[in-house]
Amino acid sequence: MSEDVIAEIKRDYIFSLAAQGDRADGRKFDEYRPISVEVGVIDKAEGSSRVKIGNTQVIVGVKMQPGEPFPDTPDTGVIITNLELVPLASPTFESGPPREDAIELARVTDRGVRESGAIDLSKLCIESGQKVWMVFIDVHVLDHDGNLMDAASLGAIAALKNTKVPNTKFGLGEDVPLPLNDVPVAVTAINVGNAILLDPSLDEGNVAPCRLTVITNKEGALAGMQKSGVGTLTPDQIKYIVHIASEKANVLREKLEGIQ
């Protein structure tokens, strides 16, 4: 059977299951696959995490080093987020410079952290206008079995919670925990026929016309959003997804509790 035919069969299967209120792996529409969050998995990093959502697996490392602030924000730390879709993680990833999917994932992860004010950047000034902390968030995807966005975002925030500012290493005093203000959480949904499914599996993600990721903060307000893919969503669908994303984020946020 050609790949196109297989894709067609998978699509029909997923759509007809959804029409009956069902999913291929038996989950409810708003149910995530099992989630595990470990921290401190990379000793060489200032903070790190390994997050699994089902078989999807990412490792996030946070490195910090002093650097120059931007001229217009002389007292503010700098966040640099990078994400690598290394070819180890999927038969469809390729070696070479990051492509648009990797860049989109990195930038949405970055905006989630940045726009929610998760990191208190004002406390990351070392010497005004001269030296501030650069926070490098590097997301390394190891196994892509769907919904990388939520895994990357969850991994980033878990690694940040695990991060110690390495003052000792740079002769700047004692190490202290990275000052955090908030815990933004990304929830991604797809629409399949008239069904809205959370945490799309790889197959579901592939057949869905588009995805919507909603990032909410502790108080349930939106900090970021990204539609990805060619399909459309009605305004009502978007409003519905925003609503359930903000509820579901609280459930995911529990996975991060107690982490440090």
Binding site: F29, E100, I103, E104, A106, R107, R111, R114, E115, S116, N191, N194, A195, I196, C210, L212, N217, G220, A221, L222, A223, G224, M225, Q226, K227, S228, G229, V230, G231, T232, L233, T234, P235, D236, Q237, I238, K239, Y240, V242, H243, S246
Partner: protein
Amino acid sequence: MSKPEKLIVDGKRLDGRGPFDMRPIKFTAGVLKRADGSCYLEFGGNKVMAAVYGPREVHPRHMQNASRAIVRYRYNMASFSVEERKRPGPDRRSIEISKVSREALEGVVMEELYPRSAIDVFVEILQADAGSRVAGINAASVALADAGIPMKCLVSAVAVGKIDGEVVLDLNKDEDNYGSADLPIAMNQFGEITLCQMDGHLTEEEFGRALDMAVDGCKKIHELQKQALIEKYGQDITPDVAQPIEGGETNE
């Protein structure tokens, strides 16, 4: 401009607009000789040129799709388009914008009519004010129509933002710099959202209002797009969309 104390004074924004007002917008279709279709757009301080080439052959061949045309979209900022000179060539921001803009337009193009070919959309931001990505989509949509590419309908786009705690339509650069949320939206004539990004801070309630405001803004822009095409062609060449639908059904 350094940060002003207030961005809204007596219900008016600093450039004199009300919350629902858009900046001046001027579309001109068919302004380039070589491109198959083109559109020059001034949208507030944005100056945007869009051109369309295609359907045309795809190189290298392994990028061809046997059952439909591929759509390519390049959003590019001129070096002199922004306050501090930008290095030429794509950066991460423009790669992301190119991706979501392509996705915003691809669904309305009847790609199945041109298997193995490419439809190339090039958007040059000659001067950037806030909202250059939505300006680019608006101009590209008109350029596609000008190129005679069969489409189900036009796509229209606008951004909504929040300043001084209020949700307002179409931020200018100063409002964008000192505002607290930005929500670029694109919509087709069926009322379906084709681009939706957001950053900043919005409550669920504010988001709902912002989205409704964007939908209204897109409808106004659609009228301007249609007029620009009538101006060039002497008749309405936009596709005949029987009955625009105001949102679909969900499993709410």
